[in-house]
């Protein structure tokens, strides 16, 4: 697809998604002044990637949200799900 065709087809959909992100951040702010947990800190770093030049933004955001370590953890007992961002050595309850 040409650049113009991509914009014509997807602009409205992603305008709406952009507003969803903005409204989500507003909602978090309204929730109080406490510091962000690790997920929101990662989210804000990911939002900054959107404004960076170059392609592969989706890949870069996925990498930013990933566990950067390379050895297996000792045990998965009691762990099933994922959090969407790497807690940085801490395993959230």
């Amino acid at each position: 697809m040409s650049r113009q065709a991509v914009v014509d087809r997807y602009f409205m959909e992603h305008r709406a998604k952009l507003l969803d992100v903005a409204a989500f951040l507003d909602r978090v702010e309204r929730g109080g002044a406490e510091g962000d947990d690790f997920r929101m800190a990662a989210f804000r770093r990911a939002v900054a990637v959107l404004a960076e030049p170059g392609a592969s933004r989706a890949r870069r955001i996925l990498e930013l949200l990933s566990d950067p370590t390379d050895t297996p953890i000792d045990s998965a007992a009691g762990l099933k799900g994922a959090f969407g961002a790497y807690p940085g050595g801490e395993t959230p309850a």
């Binding site: 087809r9 592969s56 890949r59 996925l62 990933s66 566990d67 390379d70 762990l79």
Partner: protein
């Protein structure tokens, strides 16, 4: 149009879904053994589950003209207890011999633990010993990149695994290249929120090509869409992809991989 959904958990879906999938052009599904949303209380629970996958579910699908195949394994979410896992593995071979069982899967990692990796390696060995295809689950979200690397390292370290007989599933933009560059097949899962959208899957195909890659819904007991494959076909069609490309991703490629089992049969 005909399509194959090569990864969908139909035991979690209603018969209405089979009907809608058939209406949308689905001619075959393959169902990997997976976590049911709770841990089974005994290995015998897996015996019953494998029986359901190999006996009841093919009959339910065939009523709607859909061929149902399956994969047999203990999934990574229930692989943390090696004693429990090995007991399940002890009766896997008898199910792998069944006519609709295509191989070992979906094995892999969930939280990338040592025990998960040990049981993954033992199931790869079981697959190799029984000359089976392998279908691999990669972890969710922040665990995916690390888990994909651990899985690929484990497969390569054996030296006797043909990557052309292994599909590594749930790839995303940060893992698809790792998988394809090592010669494995890659699966893209069209699943709300935690995996791919039809749009992103089409982007990956445009970026990385159409060799050794398929799409699947992984429809299950969670919020998911058993019609995700035909929706992705429509997305590609809207972008102007040729019919031959769309068919390749959603029919020819899965057909080529799955036929290596010697059991998978679907009318072209």
């Amino acid at each position: 149009m005909k399509y194959i959904d090569p990864h969908i958990h139909m035991i979690s879906r209603t018969t209405d879904d089979y009907q809608r999938m058939a209406q949308a052009g689905c001619v075959a599904v393959t169902e990997p053994a997976f976590w049911a949303g709770f841990d089974r209380s005994s290995p015998r629970g897996f015996f019953d589950y494998f029986t359901q996958l190999t006996e009841f579910e093919p009959a339910r699908a065939s009523a709607h003209g859909i061929r149902h195949y399956c994969w047999i394994c203990i999934n990574p979410k229930e692989a943390e207890d090696p004693v429990f896992a090995r007991e399940v593995m002890s009766f896997m071979p008898e199910f792998l011999e069944r006519p609709t069982a295509l191989g070992v899967g979906e094995i892999g990692l969930n939280k990338n633990s040592r025990n998960e990796l040990t049981i993954f390696e033992e199931q790869v060995a079981l697959a190799a010993d029984h000359d089976q295809l392998i279908l691999i689950h990669t972890p969710h979200l922040e665990d995916k990149l690390k888990g994909t690397r651990l899985i690929i390292d484990a497969l390569k370290s054996r030296g006797d695994i043909d990557p052309g007989r292994v599909l590594i599933d749930h790839v995303e933009e940060h893992t698809v290249e790792l998988v394809l560059d090592e010669g494995f097949w890659a699966g893209m899962t069209l699943y709300p929120d935690t995996k791919m959208t039809p749009q992103r899957a089409a982007d990956v195909i445009e970026t990385y090509g159409q060799e050794r890659i398929w799409i699947n819904s992984a429809g299950d007991w969670g919020t998911s869409d058993p019609l995700a494959v035909p929706k992705t076909r429509l997305e590609m069609q809207a972008r102007g992809h040729a019919a031959v490309t769309i068919d390749r991703i959603s029919f020819d490629n899965p057909n080529d991989f799955l036929r290596q089992s010697g059991k998978f049969l679907v009318d072209a």
